[in-house]
Symmetry: C2
Subunit: 338 residues, 2 copies
């Protein structure tokens, strides 16, 4: 390993000058700087992360916290990978790196986050899969760690967040179905305590009421956010009488299983029952193609990163403004399912 000391010895100058040269500080001769840069390139010098961050008190790393395990809590892999890509295009301009902080399924997320921030692993955190009440916000706020969340929560410590417009989606979807003549609309509410479920269900109920329709408890279906969950809930739907003539769902992963389950019960999606959901890469390749709501995940990632930077003291000069709270719009793709 070639450190700054080897580099300094090689050039026969002091480590202080080398450091200043590499970091673009003043007080170093142009010619000297050139020599240092050249030698660093030649010897393949890269500053040691631990030494640097110990001294600077910051790591240059932004962490995106997510939970591992077979049951994805809210989104699929492709979802995050696209968001990550957007986040990185912004962060890389500031020489920040993004890593995914992986919380094991058998560790408490709160404890994991506590351990991780106390270690000083990352300068800033991006949270996802926000719950109805989410103590992680208070933790990060208490430790004064810059963070942003992809998702809202009832817990409010003045944190910035960006969230998909589940309420707008509910509104457009319900109105579309009502206009098409549906009077008996059901919704699928993914299991668990994710906040988005509440937002979505509440707004659905509200919009239905505006049209003089009620959302009977009998037509609020709970399902695990997985293909198998979709399959299972299809049989519940099939067994209801009266059976809803349309279904709106907020989770993207459920839909393949849902289609299959309905078909197995002799109910043809798009014909016997209307379905409106969320876009996923498969959505347009189902039969019938899913009518769904989509968004640019990359742009979402970009926005996430920019707003995160705005709450990081060392970078906020670039992005000023009040606490960012963005409800990200989604657009409807007309399929053949509803």
């Amino acid at each position: 390993m070639t450190g700054i000391r080897q580099l300094a010895d090689y050039l026969d100058i002091s480590i202080g000058t080398v450091s200043r040269a590499l970091n673009g500080k003043a007080d170093v001769n142009a010619e000297t700087r050139r020599r240092v840069l050249e030698a660093a390139e030649k010897l393949g010098y890269v500053p040691n992360q631990s030494g640097r961050s110990l001294r600077k008190g910051s790591t240059g790393v932004v962490g995106f916290m997510m939970q591992t395990g077979p049951e994805i809590t809210s989104q699929g892999d492709a979802f995050f990978m696209s968001v990550f890509d957007g986040v990185q295009t912004v962060l890389s301009r500031h020489k920040l790196d993004l890593v995914a902080l992986l919380c094991s399924s058998n560790e408490d997320p709160y404890a994991y986050l506590q351990r991780t921030v106390a270690r000083g692993f990352a300068d800033a955190i991006i949270l996802s899969a926000t719950r109805r009440n989410d103590a992680r916000f208070e933790l990060l706020h208490r430790h004064d760690i810059p963070f942003i969340s992809l998702g809202r929560s009832l817990t409010d410590v003045g944190q910035p967040w960006i969230d998909l417009d589940f309420e707008g989606m509910a509104e457009v979807a319900i109105k579309r179905l009502v206009k098409a003549g549906h009077r008996d609309i059901g919704i699928i509410w993914p299991h668990g305590d994710l906040n988005l479920g509440y937002l979505f269900a509440d707004r659905c109920r509200q919009v239905l009421a505006e049209h003089g329709l009620a959302l009977s408890d009998d037509h609020v279906f709970r399902a695990k956010p997985s293909e198998a969950g979709g399959y299972a809930v299809a049989h519940e739907i099939a067994s209801r009488s009266p059976r809803p003539s349309a279904i709106v769902l907020v989770n993207e992963i459920l839909v393949t299983g849902l289609y299959k389950g309905l078909e197995d019960a002799g109910i043809k999606p798009g014909k016997d029952i209307a379905i409106i959901g969320r876009y996923s890469p498969q959505a347009q390749f189902l039969s019938p193609a899913l009518t769904c709501f989509t968004l640019s995940l990359r742009d979402l990632g970009i926005s996430l990163a920019e707003h995160l930077l705005s709450v990081m003291p060392a970078y906020q000069s670039h992005y000023v403004g009040q606490t960012p709270r963005v409800v990200w719009p989604m657009t409807l793709i007309e399929g053949a399912s509803g």
Copy 2:
């Protein structure tokens, strides 16, 4: 932030003793150790990552390298999340943490890895999406970083690897189809330079030859590893004459698009054309259910971690043996597609 110094002041002892107590070293009174542990718990002390790893020369972090971006290179959905979960169950027993090192789609993976290891970010690396020739192996070998790869490569620096048994899959699939009477079998080879494509295609060709059958170049279809890629390749398949009566594919993501594309071309999967592929959470919810090869991703992760530990000097006492090279078996799930 409460550091070791605050802890020592609080207990009115020296930082040396505190450190020894926390790390289970000798030379510390049982009663003192108890008090230290108690105070650490109470004050929420967690050793600073930078300070510790600077001194120790190791970080306690294992990195899993993967590339971000909308086009997943080889696997989809819950694949990685399940593998991660297995990896972590092993690593956590040794107080090691797993993070995903995210290489942006517009950064060269080799350069990214170089930067990351030179910084001393992780003690060990897990590679995935291995290419036919993969310079990353040489890089890690040169820097003497312990690593393992999920996937083989022609590049050989004596590294350990675990890979799915794509050759076994090819063999079982081809034999099954031949036995069912198929004489004109095509394969889908995902675009790119991933090594698994070569392994799979070569073995298919070989097994066909053993049965006196040839794999015409006309029936080797290249496709982007995505739903859209599956849809596109379906039209190519449909346009061939003679058209293959069966298709074997090694990528799990393609299949939804493939089904749809074939149907749009008036070809019914499982009826007009047999299809055998890889398991994914959707596979059993397609119509007809996909005949596919599956494995326990969690167990794969566990094995990956154990073999990684065996090449990490600080841990290898627990797992001895020669360089591990595991061809991971897959089992057939009989669906209705082929």
